[in-house]
Assembly symmetry: C2
Homo-oligomer: 342 residues x 2
């Protein structure tokens, strides 16, 4: 079953490829091709089940209608939901998306960008890992359309979209304070990326504003690729029996930390929120049916994904328009459940 091409249709009707191409691209009227011929072309195309070869189109036009997506890990529901939204919004405009998981590894993301570049994608949506500044700068220099999501590099001027992490953490911490918690800990991850840094900054500022001294021993920074046992150790140090200055609340900067943390807290036989109150970033299903449903900082993932695609496509479609970089910072909302205390 050989695929049918433009010239198959042209031969079939005894007309030129040019004409067929015009008609099939809806330019029949523009070139004043007779309705009758238009109809014939369309009919034959249908009859022969013509499927345009997008790759040939791409080679000719320089546009592939494909975008490259680089995130940390598609198996992580945070990125799964984001990815889904991006796929959907892209499809609305006829774009496909190639998914790449970088595992927060700059070497991987470098290879993935190169691969996507070779695939001639029209643009990129990237959640850049630590130490990938040079890669992003190279894209910017190359005048390639791209949008960063979830994090960005303050020193690189470009489109980016995310949430107000400082504000989110500030509010979450305040919420715990307002419930009488005084020894609030923060468990985070050493990503060295603005988003995580801002979370801890917001947490600290809330304490400062409440005249509570910051204790560095209450801030646990785990390696990115932390295991269960790393979290377990941090939990033990914060709320275990022999902990020196026990924490009475914990702000988890990611849901992976939170889920592991809750497991460890339960394993120690402690009650949430009685023994320790909890607030976590992100809102996985797990938190709804948890031992004690978890109060969370919920990010508008749908809006992030959708906006990212819109900004990207806008730049792709107007390559010569003067670029006005969009820096979108969305608000989060605090969903209050039982884990943070009554």
């Amino acid at each position: 079953m050989k695929k049918t091409s433009l010239s198959d249709i042209a031969k079939h009707l005894g007309v030129s490829k040019t004409l067929v191409s015009f008609v099939l691209n809806g330019k029949g009227k523009e070139f004043r091709i007779s309705e009758e011929i238009c109809k014939k072309v369309l009919d034959v195309a249908k009859e022969l089940n013509y499927q345009p070869n997008r790759i040939a189109q791409g080679l000719r036009t320089g546009r592939t209608n494909t975008i490259g997506l680089i995130i940390a890990d598609i198996a992580n529901p945070f990125f799964g939901i984001l990815g889904r939204e991006i796929e959907q919004e892209a499809a609305r405009f006829g774009y496909r998306v190639i998914f790449c998981s970088s595992d927060e590894n700059p070497e991987k993301s470098r290879q993935q960008i190169a691969m996507l570049q070779q695939s001639q994608v029209d643009g990129y949506i990237i959640s850049p890992p630590k130490n990938s500044e040079d890669q992003i700068k190279a894209l910017a220099r190359g005048n390639v359309p791209f949008v960063l999501i979830d994090r960005y590099f303050p020193e690189i001027e470009c489109h980016h979209i995310g949430v107000d992490n400082f504000d989110a953490a500030y509010n979450a911490t305040n919420h715990l304070l307002s419930h009488g918690r005084k020894r609030i800990a923060n468990i985070t991850v050493n990503l060295d990326l603005v988003n995580m840094i801002q979370r801890t900054k917001g947490y600290k500022q809330a304490l400062i504003d409440a005249n509570i001294p910051i204790e560095e021993s209450l801030i646990k920074v785990l390696p990115f690729s932390h295991e269960n046992k790393d979290v377990a150790r941090a939990i033990k140090e914060l709320v275990g029996k022999s902990a020196q200055h026990k924490a009475d609340a914990i702000l988890f900067s990611t849901s992976k930390l939170g889920i592991n943390g809750i497991e460890s807290i339960s394993a120690l036989g402690l009650k949430i929120p009685d023994d320790v109150a909890i607030v976590s970033f992100d809102n996985p299903d797990a938190y709804k049916i948890c031992i004690s449903p978890v109060t969370v900082v919920n990010q508008p993932l749908k809006e992030i994904g959708k906006t990212a695609v819109q900004i990207l496509l806008n730049q792709i479609k107007h390559p010569d328009a003067p670029v006005k970089f969009q820096e979108v910072i969305l608000k989060t909302d605090l969903i209050i459940r039982k884990s943070s205390g009554a």
Copy 2:
């Protein structure tokens, strides 16, 4: 910054494109091109940051090194983990993957297949929705490499890979029986696909083998796009105060059902497993930190994803080899936690 092409390199060195192409494709030795020239070509390619245009290659060779993946929803962790594995295994062999979420909607999957076809993907990995038999048959007729995952159509002979759902449900039900449960319910979804059907069959067979009559009122088949309230109603009918013949255990055929179900059970003030024992298919994080950690039927997602890619690439690479359809049925394992009783 114009991209550098083969002929740029050729001109730069005063040789032919042919030669450059040979060298860059590692065929230098095969064509006995002098080491010296090889080195020069490689150096210039590096210097000019040559990135082969895969799309041009694809047009010429008919191979794009791209595979199309159609699953129900990438935001669902089940498919997220599967997708991740597929992406990773494909990347190992130099293949990229275009992700498509069909939402179990055959109209969407039809469009997605057409889109992927136009993109000239080399093969497909598909988790086909109900009523998409004709689409799969068309692929088979077209002699296009593809592998089905998670479900398949018994009447269509093709590569497919999944788990032994009958066996899994049989064992899960037996496990509940062995813990003294007698009135075991099954909440499932009306997907009308072998995988779901086999689950309920396995459940029934376990009851039959234990000489327990099957009560249709204990089998709740919810619409695929069920809402929280649909699950809540089913739960109420099974274990609510005014339930006529209360169930003492529930087998959930999907984790989405299970998570919603547990929420509803808690809302009714019932205890798991005391009031009702639970086993669920699939193993999301949620089940680990649940009110009562959930006993689950765990599917070997990594192996499914990896094997699917291997079978697919094997067929892609040997298009003329006589196809011997592989029907891989993997075993699940039952991870026993508290929800199913002591």
